[in-house]
């Protein structure tokens, strides 16, 4: 058992660079489809597909399918749990880096 305060742990699910880029993008908008995420993150199709599956399985992002002009459209958006996780992640990073000199 650790003695006294410890260095906070970082959420490894969010800490992965590709996933963090996707989440940062989704945090800026209400929702976006796969193509938009692909274009704006610069990730490969395969990589993005894998990361979205992991985020969806963890309940960080939700997926919604709808028909627009009789064509299917699948969009991703941050879940409430995802927003909370991002807020916690930001707090953790800030507390970790706060003592670091500018």
């Amino acid at each position: 058992m650790p003695f006294g305060p410890t260095i906070p742990e970082v959420d490894v699910l969010l800490h992965e660079p590709a996933r963090l880029r996707v989440l940062a993008l989704l945090a800026m908008v209400e929702r976006a489809d796969f193509m938009y995420l692909l274009r704006k993150t610069g990730l490969s199709r395969g990589n993005l597909s894998v990361q979205m599956s992991k985020l969806e399985a963890a309940g960080i992002v939700h997926l919604e399918r709808e028909l627009v002009d009789r064509r299917p459209r699948t969009t991703y958006f941050l879940s409430e749990a995802g927003l909370d996780a991002l807020r916690d992640y930001k707090r953790t990073l800030l507390s970790l880096l706060e003592p670091f000199p500018d």
């Binding site: 940062a24 993008l25 800026m28 908008v29 209400e30 929702r31 976006a32 489809d33 796969f34 193509m35 938009y36 995420l37 692909l38 274009r39 704006k40 490969s44 199709r45 627009v68 002009d69 459209r73 969009t75």
Partner: protein, 197 residues
Amino acid sequence: MANTQILTERDLFRSFWDDGLLDILTGMALLLAGVGWQSEIGALAVVQAPLWIVLWGPLRRLVVEPRAGFVRFSLARRKRITRGLAATLALGVGLFAVVVLAALVVRERGALPTLGQAVDGLPAVLVAVAAVLAGLLTGARRFHAYALGLVAGAAVTVVFALGPAFPLVVVALAVIAVGVTLLGRFLRAARAFREAS
């Protein structure tokens, strides 16, 4: 140190308008308003303007979204843009119509040729006001350049008595040219992206 550019919501929103579609439709509305002005339609030429803007949504879904993807911005952003665009449209079309009618009345009476000549520049100035607002709302600074072009065109038309349609048609052609260039660039970039991914 690496030169990194941080992507912000504002940048995302600005890039949303970079495909040139809005420019082409705006240019077409302006061109038909100018051309119609010279014909017997006169002031009624303004009525067709909103129809072009209505086409933007379906055309974006057809041409842009399959290549650039779909995004929905935050509710606050969407409310701001919807309110702003509606106000811009109402202001632009409303003022335009008022000035058109005023110009027609002045011409009909034929008593104030100097004022009539000055009024010829007003439609372009009013459209320029709408262009400034559109630029502020979309973050697309080129709309401010269009506004400058319209004001310059208005000045030229007043000085040389070229008629109210002149600045509208000239700037419309420039706006369409910019739009076509942007759309071409967008389609080429989309093709390159598809081939690379």
